[in-house]
């Protein structure tokens, strides 16, 4: 395949318009089917028994009473999910997380499961399972867990990444380091140095749809799984490996997904549902309760971060350093590593060093949450940058503009940047009317920058042209927020036909080649690249068919605005053939016309955003209200601008919740105390203002249309922007997220007491 992915400036007819999404009517009429909306004949209800202890040895499990209860068709424990991971440590962690094998490692860890004819009997059966635990000391705080005297979660863990293998096991699984230059020299050159420590609490993605699936394993070894997921091909691989199935015999269909934000990238209940179905010989539907979602899916890391930045009087940063500790739950992860890579990515630095420590705690296994790890690092760095600007007597925006990374800058995590948007977003913010809006008493303004890598990865699409000239586009990246509309626009653009003639669907794992999951803001970037490639392959066939019809060389047939055109004066009497006409004749000219594409979408352009936030803080209660919010972000090219705005607004809103209110609260017993939407309060409609957006388009040179991922970067700046705004409103530097009313009051009291 000779697909050229490079950017070529072109005028767009469809891309950049704002049509209604193809899945829209189903979603406003209640017809769209999500994870829990699917049923099979003879289906059982699955339920999972979970550990009430943060850390405990499972001494024995007696399921005999539950098995005898009328209506119970299967009871499983870890014994029913034998270890088939063959030395793959990451898969073994997934297996152990799906069903605890020897120890329960957090409050909510699955220990057994039942399938019964209805939910009531399933719940009764759970109560009849007798588990004998030996409770162990636990640790849930990231700093306490990193301490050498903390209870050990896994005595086989010896910190990786140190010069010498340590003599003793530890809760720190890995140390990573990034940077260049000489920070000692850089700090020696600094006239001003700011050094601060920050903490952020654990938050949850908070998707409104709980995890849900229907699993059906047949006696012949074939199986079906209907599931809400961000990546059905990855779920198929993981489930097939854990259950000992051939991947091709497990067909996974992704339902409509009711939010994921990174939280539906990992299997939890799906292998359990398959194991229950295998044992019961019937389909099993397993839907998590909201309590289970909070206790036993994958929230983000809690963090503890130290930052030190130095600058000369002229405002040039001479050195920057950060140490980042991220909680991973009870299994190894690379969350601090990602934080360490992103921390200083916005800046042009001669001397920079970041060190990350991955820390095990007795909390659920950390999962990705929208630009995972970046918001916390940005909170720490952008807070310190603001403090340094103040010490220098410089405007916060001007200080950042002076030090912003540019094309050719070596990023703090290694690569050299191509064309990037950090400078343009800062310039746009500098001149934005929001910066001049008047502020009243107890109000403050803050701004901050954010970075995300964006992913590409393995991608397939099929583009089939029907005999009536309409186009079916099958993609393999799950649509989390309108990508079927964007990809239909791209197919229409490339073929030169109207958007209304393209219908995009998300194909199941048996209908299309492997696709990586929808993560890393890759959905529209990667699948649009594959769609362009597939469309160009189809156009090649369309040209061949026209050439055959006209009996002229295919080289003389061009494709323009949905028509084959014979180029050259000698063909003056040949009128153009439309896609529709060529499709209608396809049965006689060689059969169905289609374009396929299987590729690795390389070159996902990095993404930058700058946010502005105004807050009002009530000094009596410590309550904070966001009164004005503006997002400026580079999209490369906004394929469907309304959905790009939606990504900007949604990320900002999640960041506002994280900054001001959301946190996992654990008791001294290691149990989660706020596993519900009443006590884990995400922003509601009356909490927020309108969220203004400005889309910048600095083309990604590695995509034909210049597209960059847009989904995640919008959650990176808010924690810092709001912290800077609150700090400016109350005159005290806030260093602990969320800035809930008690924390703000405590900070004000501490300031008064000096």
């Amino acid at each position: 395949m000779n697909f050229d992915p490079r950017f070529s400036g072109r005028k767009f007819a469809s891309v950049g318009t704002r049509p209604i999404r193809p899945d829209g009517v189903d979603k406003v009429t209640g017809r769209a089917r999500y994870g829990a909306d699917f049923n099979m004949a003879g289906q059982l209800v699955g339920r999972i028994l979970r550990s009430p202890h943060a850390h405990a040895v499972i001494k024995s499990i007696d399921t005999s009473k539950a098995e005898k209860l009328a209506g119970v068709k299967a009871v499983i424990t870890a014994k029913d999910l034998p270890d088939l991971t063959d030395g793959d440590a990451a898969m073994h962690d997934i297996l152990d997380n799906c069903m605890a094998r020897k120890k329960a490692l957090y409050d909510g860890h699955a220990v057994a499961a039942v399938a019964a004819i209805d939910a009531r009997i399933a719940r009764q059966a759970l109560k009849l399972i007798e588990v004998e635990y030996e409770v162990l000391p636990h640790v849930t705080d990231v700093d306490e867990a990193a301490h050498h005297h903390a209870p050990l979660i896994n005595d086989q863990v010896f910190t990786e990444g140190l010069e010498e293998k340590p003599a003793k096991p530890s809760n720190i699984t890995k140390r990573t380091q990034f940077g260049h230059g000489d920070v000692h020299k850089g700090f020696a050159e600094a006239d001003f140095v700011v050094e601060r420590s920050f903490k952020t609490e654990q938050t949850h993605q908070g998707y409104i749809e709980p995890h849900a699936c229907v699993a059906s394993v047949n006696a012949d070894g074939t199986a079906d799984l209907w599931v809400c997921t961000q990546g059905h091909f990855v779920y198929r691989q993981h489930c097939a490996q854990l259950l000992g199935l051939e991947a091709s015999k497990l067909r996974v269909t992704s339902s409509e997904i009711g939010g994921g934000f990174g939280g539906k990238t990992h299997v939890w209940a799906e292998p359990v549902a398959l194991a229950l179905s295998r044992k019961a010989g019937r389909p099993v539907k397993l839907v998590m309760t909201r309590d289970e979602v909070f206790r036993a899916s994958g929230p983000t890391s809690a963090t503890s971060i130290d930052v030190r930045i130095g600058a000369r009087k002229d405002g040039t940063i001479t050195a920057a350093e950060a140490t980042l500790r991220y909680s991973c739950g009870p299994y190894a992860g690379s969350w601090a590593e990602i934080g360490a890579m992103t921390a200083f990515a916005c800046y042009k630095l001669e001397n920079v060093k970041t060190v990350g420590y991955e820390v095990l705690v007795n909390r659920p296994k950390t999962a990705a949450y929208r630009a995972p790890s970046a918001p916390m690092a940005a909170f720490a760095v952008e807070s310190a940058v603001d403090e340094l600007a103040k010490e220098l007597g410089m405007d916060a925006v001007d200080f950042r503009i002076k030090n912003a990374a540019q094309e050719g800058t070596r990023a703090s995590y290694g690569p050299v940047y191509g064309p990037i948007g950090i400078g343009p977003t800062l310039e746009a913010v500098k001149h934005h009317p929001h910066m001049k809006a008047p502020l009243k008493e107890n109000q403050g303004r803050g701004m901050a920058c954010g970075f995300w890598f964006n992913f590409g990865g393995q991608t397939c699409t099929d583009l089939n042209i029907g005999m009536d000239g309409s186009v079916s586009l099958a993609v393999g990246t799950v649509d989390v927020g309108g990508s079927r509309a964007s990809l239909s626009l791209v197919a229409a653009e490339e073929l030169g036909i109207d958007y209304s003639h393209v219908k995009a669907i998300v194909a199941d794992t048996s209908s299309l080649g492997y696709n990586d999951m929808t993560d890393g803001s890759r959905g529209t970037f990667s699948s649009s690249m594959a769609t362009i490639s597939a469309a160009r392959n189809a156009i090649k066939i369309l040209r061949e068919r026209a050439a055959q019809t006209w009996d002229i060389p295919v080289e003389d047939v061009h494709w323009e605005k949905g028509h084959a055109i014979a180029k050259g004066e000698k063909y003056g009497n040949l009128s153009p053939l439309s896609l529709k006409e060529i499709a209608a004749a396809s049965g006689k000219t060689g059969g169905p016309i289609a374009g396929h594409s299987e590729l690795v979408a390389d070159g996902a352009g990095v993404s930058f955003a700058t946010h502005i936030c105004d807050v009002e803080v009530d000094p009596e209660t410590g309550s904070t209200r966001v009164i004005r919010y503006t997002v400026v972000q580079d999209a490369g090219k906004a394929v469907h601008p309304t959905y790009v705005e939606g990504q900007y607004q949604g990320g900002a809103a999640q960041g506002i919740g994280w900054a001001l209110n959301e946190e996992y609260i654990y008791g001294k017993d290691g149990r989660l105390q706020n596993a519900g939407f009443l006590d884990y309060r995400i922003p509601v409609c009356s909490d927020l203002p309108m969220i203004d957006t400005q889309i910048l388009e600095i083309p990604n040179p590695n995509h034909p249309y210049g597209v960059r991922g847009v989904g995640e970067t919008s959650i990176v700046p808010p924690l810092a922007a709001i912290a800077n705004a609150v700090s400016n409103a109350v005159g005290v530097r806030m260093t602990h997220i969320p800035m809930s009313p008690p924390r703000i009051l405590a900070a004000l009291d501490a300031e008064r007491e000096g």
């Binding site: 406003v28 749809e209 009711g258 309108g482 519900g676 409609c685 009356s686």
Partner: protein, 158 residues
Amino acid sequence: MAGVAVSTTINGDAVEYLCQPDETLLEVLRDRLGLTGAKEGCGTGDCGACSVIVDGRLVCSCLVLGAEAEGRKVETIEGMAHGDQLHPLQQKFLEHAALQCGVCTPGFLIAAKDLLEKNPSPTEEEIRFGLAGNLCRCTGYDKIVRAVQDAANVMKGA
């Protein structure tokens, strides 16, 4: 357990069903009647994804028993459009892209319909407080509020 026989009206149609005394209206709608437009996001009345209207009152169907629907009129998302004619709120939600994942959308539409029936000209603040019982994690609510404002204008002109 003996079932409770219930006669009710759902989206204008007479409906009869047997349900358990402890079964919620949401479970009845979804599991017995196949009306899966109302979603269970929490089961505790905190998210509004299961919103329906019972005798003109907006409720979380997860907090109502199936047996309580006896003799009442229940409106769900499945009854909001008339044939293929979408309700102005449905049309404006599409035009404004007031949904991303869409799982909260049926609840928002029902809550917004209830709001506009009681207050045809709400201010932005009244819309925000009127919809504060419905959680959306994708949109930041901006486009939802604008869609409701636009629909209110269309409905007033109709």
